[in-house]
């Protein structure tokens, strides 16, 4: 009994009170800052090294939907033409917005990245139930999504929960590159969610196929029939990335 009380006192309050103002350790690799004026003419070492094929040159661009945030480009550059800031607000409603251009600041990205539709806010603003489907995910994204519900982040405080059945859900959260072997189950789950419903793609694999694009074992045809409403980049995305993207998408507590 006393041990339990001691534990509770020692445990204090691990919850992050104001998620909107939470900051991450400066070493976190988040929003990339591109400065093409620092590029050496003819140099392509970042694009050559990129394991995900996320970097395009002339002009310099980085696709957050492919990036695994391994940091190899930053380390190889040496000129700081490309570096990762600890900014974790990376979500976007449109796929095109995920392509970061030279000189783009995090603030400029955020301004246009997520479109909070009135209808979404009206329907789901006070309660959003999500069904997670891992379609070839490596358990990285899955662990971070599970962490959203722990005592630190407490996603439930916003009325957002992961539920056990697609029939109880307002939408799907998809992780993994969409393997062929999961294609029928994913389609079933989507069919089981009643209209209106949303689809959220979490992680580089779900958004673009990631590292597994040309392994011949994927079936991404699902995405032709169901539009992705929200993209959450990362490998895996930090819980704060997912939470902020959702809150912005729902038009909640705009900071």
């Amino acid at each position: 009994m006393f041990e339990l009380l001691r534990l509770r006192i020692r445990h204090n309050r691990p919850v992050i009170k104001d998620l909107r103002r939470a900051g991450l350790h400066p070493s976190f690799r988040g929003f990339p800052l591109l400065a093409s004026e620092k590029c050496t003419a003819g140099c392509s070492s970042c694009a050559d090294l990129c394991p995900a094929g996320a970097i395009a040159l002339a002009p310099l661009r980085l696709d957050l939907g492919k990036c695994t945030f391994c940091g190899e480009c930053e380390r190889a550059c040496g000129k700081e033409a490309l570096r990762f800031s600890p900014g974790y607000r990376l979500g976007a409603t449109s796929r095109a917005a995920l392509i970061i251009t030279a000189g783009q600041t995090e603030a400029a990205f955020q301004e246009q990245a997520i479109e909070a539709r009135k209808e979404i806010c009206r329907l789901f603003g006070r309660s959003l139930k999500l069904r997670q489907v891992s379609a070839g995910g490596c358990n990285g994204c899955e662990m971070e999504l599970a962490a959203c519900g722990n005592v630190n982040f407490d996603l439930g405080r916003f009325g957002i929960d992961f539920v056990a059945s697609p029939r109880h859900a307002d939408g799907l959260v998809i992780t993994g590159p969409l393997t062929r072997n999961m294609a029928p189950a994913l389609a079933d789950a989507y069919r089981s969610v009643s209209e209106p419903k949303i689809v959220i793609a979490v992680g580089a694999c779900a958004i673009s196929g990631g590292l597994f694009t040309d392994g011949g074992e994927l079936d991404r045809s699902f995405l032709a029939s169901a539009a992705v409403d929200l993209h959450v980049p990362g490998c895996p995305p930090h819980p704060l990335t997912f939470i902020h993207a959702l809150l912005d998408f729902l038009g909640l507590e705009k900071s």
Binding site: E3, H11, V133, G140, M143, N150, L211, E217, C235
Partner: protein, 495 residues
């Protein structure tokens, strides 16, 4: 000579590996296993001459690995070894699925990754084990589960609440990882990222096995500072996942204090990894020839104090958790695996050690920092959910001690040494003790010095059958807590 004798990470020329007749390899393998050796790998490689089957056995006591091979032609058959050595059952199924060499008389010859209903021509081969009887019913779960976890299909045969049999179908996560290792030659970093994505909860485990295999092939010696940082990262990974597992185990029996406290403690550990390398799971830390990020000065002090505080908090939390009568009532004598079963199935990792089987690569086949700082193997005996939970607490304590010790061993030396091209026509076996147990990567290079085969084994491969047997005669409501006590990897199995 029947076997080539080598050690963990010691390269061997492919030409120096004995090639036996299939019969002789079978006899040798069975007698090796009967003599107490353990199967580490059993895989095929398609060559111009035919399909080469490689068998790798481990002699844990003497820190030796034994490799031998035999050649098969397409559509050959051979008498299954699984009937005598159950530890091989999934390996033989995989070899059959990948190369079509049929193990005759295999009791369970089903697809491993390609039997998914609605897509696979092998679907019919996946006839689930079936029980008849008026009171018998089946419960099918998955591929999509209730929680936020990876997909797999469980088929329970029950009488009332009691599980008579559990069959587990895999393959939903299959992404073609082994094939992808052989592509993208121009982008070495690709393979590094791929290795870190074999199982995203074992970034350092699998990523480390990969870099050490390639360093061995290129004869690259890694500096002490880098070795120490790798060791710290491996033990941080183990600590974080074990804490998360204790949290999840508490949650599965509705002990919410345990769930909350251990969950918060885990956060502190992965945030320490984040401070080290910019990612909560250690992605981007490892590099061929060393590491990309350093530990020095303030970071070293921070890790030291954070973990000292964490150990105190963990002790208190464990004291409360393991004193809860309602929790113990659910953990004790639930999902028992005996030592003999564990040995026959070739179990590895904490699940094996919880059943009294003393296997730990860090001690049996030391590598990296563990070559200089020996790790003591720890076991429990009861083999139940309690033991698999408690061994995690014991291992957390051990890992924290190792990290503190390693922080003293940092010498401020160079982080990364230049890589070198792999030698041609070689094989290396790279074993690592991930938090789930023995990870085994085998890299084979061709005459051009490029990888010609990259075989991956996640520890889960050994332990799935143990989970299936553990839940027999248990209530189906105890399945979640049994499952979590093993916490096996779907993506690591499906590749």
């Amino acid at each position: 000579m029947k076997w080539a004798e080598l050690r963990n990470l010691q390269t061997v020329q492919l030409a120096a590996i004995p090639r036996l007749s299939p019969d002789a390899l079978q006899q040798q393998t069975l007698s090796g296993l009967a003599a107490g050796r353990r199967v580490v790998q059993f895989f095929g490689d398609r060559t111009a001459e035919g399909i080469l089957l490689y068998v790798v056995l481990a002699d844990d006591e003497h820190s030796r690995l034994y490799v031998s091979s035999a050649i098969f032609q397409d559509n050959d058959k051979y008498p299954a070894l699984t009937t005598d050595a159950p530890a091989l059952h999934l390996f033989e199924r995989e070899f059959y699925e990948q190369f079509g060499i049929e193990p005759l008389g295999h009791p369970w010859l089903k697809p491993v990754r390609h039997g998914i209903a609605g897509i696979s021509p092998l679907e019919a081969a996946y006839n689930f084990f079936h029980m008849d009887g008026a009171q018998v019913h089946e419960v099918g779960v998955g591929p999509i589960h209730a929680g936020i976890i990876e997909p797999g299909h469980f088929r329970f045969s029950c009488q009332g609440e009691e599980i008579y049999h559990l069959e587990i179908e895999h393959g939903f996560q299959h992404r073609g990882v082994e094939e992808l290792f052989l592509r993208h030659r121009a982008r070495p970093v690709y393979r590094q990222c791929l290795a870190e994505s074999i199982a995203g909860d074992s970034v350092i485990g699998h990523g480390g096995a990969y870099v050490r295999a390639m360093e061995a092939l290129g004869n690259v010696n890694v500096g002490r500072q880098a070795i120490v940082i790798r060791t710290i990262a491996q033990e941080l990974e183990r600590t974080a996942i074990h804490l998360g597992d204790l949290s999840a185990l508490a949650n599965d029996v509705a002990y919410l204090t345990g769930n909350a406290v251990f969950g918060a403690l885990r956060t502190k550990v992965i945030n320490t990894t984040l401070a080290l390398c910019g990612n909560r799971f250690g992605r981007g830390l490892l590099a061929l020839g060393g590491v990309n990020y350093n530990i020095s000065g303030k970071l070293r002090d921070n890790i030291r104090t954070t973990l000292a505080q964490l150990e105190d908090d963990t002790d208190l939390a464990a004291e409360v958790l393991f004193a809860s009568a309602s929790l113990l009532a659910r953990f004790e004598k639930t999902g028992v695996v005996t030592k003999e079963t564990a040995r026959r199935l070739g179990m590895v990792g904490p699940a094996a050690r919880a059943s009294g089987l003393a296997v730990d690569v860090r001690s049996d086949h030391p590598y990296g920092g563990f070559s200089y700082f020996p790790v003591h193997k720890m076991t429990l005996t009861s083999g139940d959910v309690f033991a698999r939970a408690y061994i995690r607490y014991v291992e957390i304590k051990q890992s924290l001690r190792i990290i503190q010790e390693q922080l003293n061993a940092l010498n401020g030396g160079e982080l990364k040494r230049p890589g070198a091209a792999p030698a041609a026509g070689m094989m290396v076996v790279s074993l690592a003790e991930g938090w789930r147990g023995e990870i085994a990567h085998v890299a084979l290079t061709g005459q051009d010095g490029q990888l010609r085969r990259y075989k991956i084994k996640d520890p889960s491969f050994h332990n799935w059958m143990a989970l299936a047997l553990a839940v027999r005669k248990n209530g189906i409501s105890d399945f979640p807590v049994c499952n979590k006590s093993f916490n096996l990897s779907y993506c690591g199995t499906d590749l």
